[in-house]
Symmetry: C2
Amino acid sequence: MEKRVLELFTDKKFAELKDVLARINPPDLAVAFEELDKKDTLILFRLLPKELAADTFIEMESDTQQKLLEAFSDKEIKAVFDEIFIDDTVDIIEEMPATVVKRILKLSDAETRKSINEILAYPEDSAGSIMTTEYVDLKKHLTVEQAFARIRKNGVDKETIYTCYVTDARRKLIGVVTVRELLLSDYNDRIEDIMETNVLFANTLDDREAVVQMFDKYDILALPIVDNESRLVGIVTVDDAIDVLQEEVTEDIERMAAITPTDKPYLKTGVFEIFKSRIPWLLILMISATFTGLIITRFEDALVTFTALTAFIPMLMNTAGNAGSQASVTVIRGLSLGEIKFSDIFRIVFKEFRVSLLAGAALSVANFIKIWAFDIVVLKSDISLLEAAVVCITIFVSVLFSKIVGCALPILAKKLRLEPEVMASPFITTIVDVLVLMVYFTIAHLLLM
Amino acid sequence: MEKRVLELFTDKKFAELKDVLARINPPDLAVAFEELDKKDTLILFRLLPKELAADTFIEMESDTQQKLLEAFSDKEIKAVFDEIFIDDTVDIIEEMPATVVKRILKLSDAETRKSINEILAYPEDSAGSIMTTEYVDLKKHLTVEQAFARIRKNGVDKETIYTCYVTDARRKLIGVVTVRELLLSDYNDRIEDIMETNVLFANTLDDREAVVQMFDKYDILALPIVDNESRLVGIVTVDDAIDVLQEEVTEDIERMAAITPTDKPYLKTGVFEIFKSRIPWLLILMISATFTGLIITRFEDALVTFTALTAFIPMLMNTAGNAGSQASVTVIRGLSLGEIKFSDIFRIVFKEFRVSLLAGAALSVANFIKIWAFDIVVLKSDISLLEAAVVCITIFVSVLFSKIVGCALPILAKKLRLEPEVMASPFITTIVDVLVLMVYFTIAHLLLM
């Protein structure tokens, strides 16, 4: 549909374009803007009806937003920001240069400006930084009828009206009532009689990841955010929680791949920025990996005598690394879903121990058959059955080691308040490589020399 | 809080227990049940008020559900399933043995039974399999007042009342109207005048992952699901979409770590099941990795002459493997978020090419300094500067290769309708290992012999 918009726009078929614009959704329309130059971006934007314009603006990439903001008149800036919610305004502001931010703040009314500055002041990744201050608040002495009147009057500007928050005179949160309950209650019922006083909430300074987990666990549409005096200061809605969830997952996955998380989409990130997010761990892991070299050098004599042994080193390292990564990634995901706690560590190690006995045995046997049937019979390699045994025993022992290291390290990291995701594949592989070589040479020494 | 429940229950302090139960949330209470034996599970469950009992039942692990269902009277089964939504019933039924399923179906009314069987018949991972059939439907000729009357009358049993669906006489979906719009409209307005006719929907057979992406993209609370004749058959609500999102992420992460996804939480999965989900890829990757052995064997003579070269093999493989994984994981995540399309492949390869020039140069230089300052000066190793150059050039070339292989393979896999996640770390590592060895020995051959 976004292609059709561009076609009609380029061909100046504005009557047909209007029809298409009436049926398009803002996220799709935003994609069309990415294809236009600065002048056309502004022309197309000015063709949009006010509400669609604002909703599409939110969905654009931040460089397109900046292009538009720099070209907008004061009136146009006001028109856009009057339509959108404060949390979206904050998201946009965070990506803009200071001159643009100043202009937006200058054009906001005093109350909005205050809210924006409050939200901007919360630490990154805190609940406060992702909340909005636009919610419906009710008083406990209101009747259902009065509550509906209040929602009708004020609800139009609120991010959600479906959950209403009941506060006392000092703005302390004392209950919630949903529109569903209001609709199913009598018009004369009082809010205090139907409100739920067992309220789920988070503090402004809580980690946003914890907030998102509450949405997942309790199936809620919005979560109230309170300050240290239990006063209601904002809410987080489920659509924003999903965005945060996706961002957190991306960060976890990046950390697991030894990347320092950035919060920009890949195609929008510059080459140097990508380089900066990747090089630190590559360097650390490369330097750590040179320790394997020291071990190999120490056992050089053995390798010169039994030349066949060298050929198996990469396979042994890979297999143990994969076995360890499987365990670590499973545990990391369990930790981030809240399924695994520190107290489960012994159960998990015991479980991985048993899994590794099975996996180690299966892999050793498969490898022994492969060496015998392929290397010795088909390729006529000069590897002896005793050397094959050294390889297979090493597989068994190192799968055992690496599964246990793989499952234990993320749990220990979490306990030490480090990111468990860092204990994924690249890190585990480096540790496991050292273990594998020590096991390999020890067993070779015992059986061959 | 769940610990307090168990304490009070064990101490038989039932009055205090009642207080705590009034304040606890079902997902937390469900955790308490995991600690009890069969008899106590049933006793505690019977202490709960009807609605809390049903909500907690949904949140329990399936073996606890099964224990309870086997102990329940017919009346108790009916009491639980009358309270819960059909999609939750289906989720429970899918995990139960045939005898239990038969009993649940026998005790349901005819209409519910029909809905359950319909949902069960949809393919796993389809939109139909995660929907519920309990939604509010309206007719276009109704007034807002009549619509509210209908919601008040029927809404109590519906999973969401906030989005209402307008259907024609043949049950075709013709519009949606939200309670927000109803509340902000005049009582005498007609539904057909206020409904949104530009409706987002999915087909029963669409992939559930696509459904979840629509929630992320369009910020919706519910999505209507239609059959091939555009008739409305159910809806998916945002809380279920979040659950599916989390499951899909877990599956993606498992595939990236060479694990066949299972849908059970780790601690609830048996040792043999875990073994089965991990061994296929371990075997495939182990056998693939033996190819590296063939290459090493071919270059045995070089390794015996230049013994220092062997020591660098693991470090070279690790570094290239990590560099490739970074690229592949970034692209895989971009694909699953819908940020990257097949047509972006050349842009991405060119971007990774430039990133790899920077990363390769930085790593080569760091490594040269390390060999010179540490290995030669400190350890007095007998490695020559020419050998060091071979190692550093190999790093540069193999980082370049592995970044490009790493970013291109997931996109090609997606194009071929394979799972791009499989092209993550373990698979890339195996391919990259072969590349690294070939590059290493070629460069060694050119410079040293």
